[in-house]
Amino acid sequence: MDDLTLPKNKLDMFLNKIKSDYTVYAPVKVDDLVYFKKIEKLKDITLDFYNSKVPPKSIIFKQTETMFKFKQGLDAEIQTLDDKNKKNVIFGIRPCDAKSMSILDNVFEDDFTDPYYVNKRKNTVLVGVSCKQPTINCFCTSMDGGPADSKHLDVLISDIGNRYYVEIKNNKGKSLIDGTRNLFEKVTNNDKKKRLQLEKKSKDEISRNMKTEGISEKLDEIFDDDIWKSISLRCLGCGICTYECPTCHCFDIQDETTLSDGARIRVWDTCMNPEYTVHASGHNPRPARMNRTRNRVYHKFNYFPKNYNLIACVGCGRCINDCPVNIDIIEIINKAREVKT
């Protein structure tokens, strides 16, 4: 679609305009960490960050989501919540996290359409920001992505010095920009050059890569290999990797009640918990940590590709950064490829 530029000093005006029509979620600094939060004051927004602790999927696929409320007793009734017409903008999302939304779409729009996810997804515009500086563990380029990849975004802005290079990718992005067209300017050849330079520089800085060709088939062959035991012996089963992963989507549903009323709540769950697979009989098909760690790798790199022809990993590197015992998915996959069958 369109390419435009926005002078840096006009960004606040743009954000103010869209804030009046949309609920804006953007990165906010909380002590030393960055989280995506609802924005009340524009000065809370920071674009000086690598990536957020918790991925922005938490805005569309909330960690705690009320499905419906109900009243118990003689006048029992169910009240569904109505937020179908709320329009949102996630501003400052990275290309890897945007790709994860497209991956999650497969899960929530497959044979059953999850209304909670789908409504929000339809009404949310993703305005991404290119990465100027990848971190040590970024490997989006190995996962069919890139630091300035606009494929899964509605709008992508890249910092090219004194202005932002703005790429509008689809109608959703276009309707967002339309009300503020007067703030934007035409693209010059110099701008285009800087944009390509930015992308090349960032791509060159990515130092780690993971070879993914044929990984799904290879994993099929080594399911019972000892390598899984040695990798998972040090796993603590904590859940940090699952809660920080932009493509993880497991959830639990619980009812919370008082004597008179209550609500059905959907919450994130983690497959690293032994209780995740415990049956009512008490039997647990994944009794040991080895089973659960192996399952996580297989879900991302074998089961998901088999179902949707996509690897459910975007290369954001959060799991590698924060694993307490340095379980490294890049190391695991590269090691798995070398197992002799």
Binding site: K69, E256, I265
Partner: protein
């Protein structure tokens, strides 16, 4: 009971053998004490897990009282000693979090001390009335 005054909810965990019997005695002797207390009978005050206390405060209790036998008189020999240790630690922890530890009280009431029970309830109710309703860790239940 004044209609517009704040009426606290107080949950009391009373041990079956001493403090519950004491409360019973207060009742049969027709002694007057504030009706704000809601009693949960446990077999021994040692049964009271600090999780019960925190849960009660979450669910709407403005104060929690744990009643046990006098030291040396516990029906199960040592239960009340353990409660004493636990509550000492819990109160200090709650204070550190910024939660008023005066909301969690302990008392020794024997089966013959109906009058003491009534007095304790009156005192605790008055104290909690002054502290006001719990807002900090109460469950919102507003979904």
């Amino acid at each position: 009971m004044q209609k517009d005054e704040f009426q606290p909810n107080i949950v009391a965990f009373l041990c079956n053998w001493c403090s519950y019997a004491g409360a019973d005695l207060a009742g049969t002797s027709r002694m007057q004490y504030p009706p704000n207390v809601k009693i949960i009978r446990v077999m021994c005050s040692g049964r009271v897990n600090p999780m019960f206390v925190v849960n009660a405060l979450q669910e709407g209790a403005d104060g929690v009282l744990i009643g046990g036998c006098h030291p040396g008189d516990c029906h199960y020999i040592q239960g009340n000693y353990f409660t004493r240790r636990r509550m000492a630690v819990l109160k200090k922890l709650l204070e550190y979090i910024g939660f008023d530890e005066r909301r969690v009280r302990m008392t020794w009431v024997s089966a013959a001390e109906g009058k003491k029970f009534a007095e304790v309830i009156s005192e605790v109710t008055e104290d909690i009335k002054k502290l006001g309703p719990v807002q900090k860790i109460r469950r919102a239940n507003s979904w």
